[in-house]
Symmetry: C2
Subunit: 408 residues, 2 copies
Amino acid sequence: MRVCILGGDGYLGWPTAMHFSERGHQVLAVDSCVKRRLEAELSISPLEDVPDFEQRADRWNQLGGNEIKTIRGDIYLEKDLMNEICRQFKPDVIVHYAEQPSAPYSMLNREAAAYTQVNNVVGTLNVMFAMHDHAPQAHLIKLGTMGEYGTPNIDIEEGWITVNHNGRSDRMVYPKRPSSYYHCSKVHDSTNLEFACRSWGLRVTDLNQGVVYGIETSEMARDPQRLRTSFHYDDVFGTVLNRFVVQAVAGVPLTVYGAGGQTRGYLNIKDTLACVEIAALNPADSGEFRVFNQFTEQFSVSDLADRVSRVARRRNIAVETQHIDNPRVEAEKHYYNAVNTSLLDLGLEPHLLDDDVIDGMISRAIAAEDNIRLSSIMPRLNWARGATSAAQLLASRSSAEESTAVLS
Amino acid sequence: MRVCILGGDGYLGWPTAMHFSERGHQVLAVDSCVKRRLEAELSISPLEDVPDFEQRADRWNQLGGNEIKTIRGDIYLEKDLMNEICRQFKPDVIVHYAEQPSAPYSMLNREAAAYTQVNNVVGTLNVMFAMHDHAPQAHLIKLGTMGEYGTPNIDIEEGWITVNHNGRSDRMVYPKRPSSYYHCSKVHDSTNLEFACRSWGLRVTDLNQGVVYGIETSEMARDPQRLRTSFHYDDVFGTVLNRFVVQAVAGVPLTVYGAGGQTRGYLNIKDTLACVEIAALNPADSGEFRVFNQFTEQFSVSDLADRVSRVARRRNIAVETQHIDNPRVEAEKHYYNAVNTSLLDLGLEPHLLDDDVIDGMISRAIAAEDNIRLSSIMPRLNWARGATSAAQLLASRSSAEESTAVLS
């Protein structure tokens, strides 16, 4: 297959590019690398240095196998880029990770919220129109998030639900309850894509993904330093398991937001790659807006704190847990039961979160201990107060405003 | 009350401004007048000349009563405009009509779809952030559309629905099925606003309005020429009843798209003004995302063609009906039953669509018969084929691209 990876420089995009290349597919990876610029603006860096987009691809291509081609370009700002890609590369599959991925970033201020929504929604519109005009049979695999659903008091189905009401029935889009302007942007994308499937006959798989953890894949093992992906533990791009691992290694308490009962779906990065491959090999039909819930296990925040604590103690690392004010607007104790059978039925074999996986993450964090910046861990933004406290997050507000003004 | 009308130069915005002024409120009307520019680009004009924004306000102010203040400004492009309005005018109520209102326009091409969504979504984000920062107790009355719901096979509730599923239950946002990028933009707004109410405690009433008809209000009667609002019958900004009236007067067949069973909610412009006033006098609670379905009657397209034909024949106008290929993507025969009790319970007394109303519209069309441009009536864009046929719609594609590039 001819596989175009949008966001090919990202935490998931780069490993996905190698994964498809390794399996004999022709891969074009596209990225604007804007996230690296946002990191710099926010004084954030991943735990380990990440080689440049083109450097990683060069290294991979030196090691043999199918070449990964790269384009440094912005699918939102460069209006014709997706048209050119569809015309010249003629993708069978477009895997679309190319969105601003941080919920906290989107809550920063008006500029960041607008940038997140415009970048994500218009970028995806550009993909959709390019497919309509130049690659109508291509299959779009779009990364959504389990966070689109929120925490409803009923079971979470895979994108669609049959609603019975006043003696009648319809199959409807599952009602969403997103909890940040970033999560809202993913709902907007889903709304646009469902319409495009219905009206234009596009083929779309929307992968509502849980929280991904892990930084090891079989492809990366071929040169762990020069092919590595990013490990974020900060308050903007970091995720909770990474944060706990780094806090344990740094000898500071694990910070649980609020009561800690917040339950979400999680999966290993290896399973992300497997799920995307499964979706690619089993495309949606023409006109089908297909939604898979992409996670393998459900954990509460407290569960994760307990597990990291237990594994760290095996290494004689003393770990405490501290409950702090929840900066987010979310239920801290709630019903949560999400369906995830579609990908399992298509053959997904999950890598579960066992102690060895956590221990492996701890090892990596110990090796990079000198890079840990504790100042970037604690949440600097309260989502309910929102914009008014945003200035605190920015080392230099004026420079950030200037750059987001350019972007939005 | 201090009432800010966003989109105060529009078909509904201008009559709303006069309506609140007449009732003793302080009114600030804001408009970029971009719709007049889009009309010019698309070679479209309303049936009757519409005085300029400031001219109409000057005339109203000459006639005495409360002054309507105007600001010509763009709430999307001018990042600080809403902040200034909230700080200086200190609105109790913000009535937000200031969106690109045409579904066919949004389907024109990539640029028009992106402009519609960015203008509408970011404009509304700017309002939300300004309220959060500078007017947290103000009440936002946001115009949505019944078209957000589509035509589900179950009853359409007012924005929220209790879903029973696998033995559990939750009150959820009503699942949407929009049928154009414009309708999608209204769903995006609703998604953002529901989140902002939940997280920031904003007060929002989302008015999911049906198709509005009529061009007469008691305020306009004080100077019908110089206070008038717009009457659009064209394929971009026109609505179906207006089109039928103009076709009858012009002696051409009434063009029914497809089978004609498409059923929607409708209301008289007088009821729009009454509904907005009712919402303003009965504000949403802090943190409440309240949705009213704002229409008074349901008609199918064929119903409307029959009614216009009957009234026209009373004037000895011979009328034929012609079914043409449906340019839209929509069900032409479907279940449709929408709840609209909230506004009635708050005191709305509907003006129903009787023969006199239609006859009054026919009179106006006869008086302006010389202005009728038949070339602008027939749909020039097929929504399923979409972008590739869009070039036909534009008299000058290059000039339109240039201007939407500036806008987006």
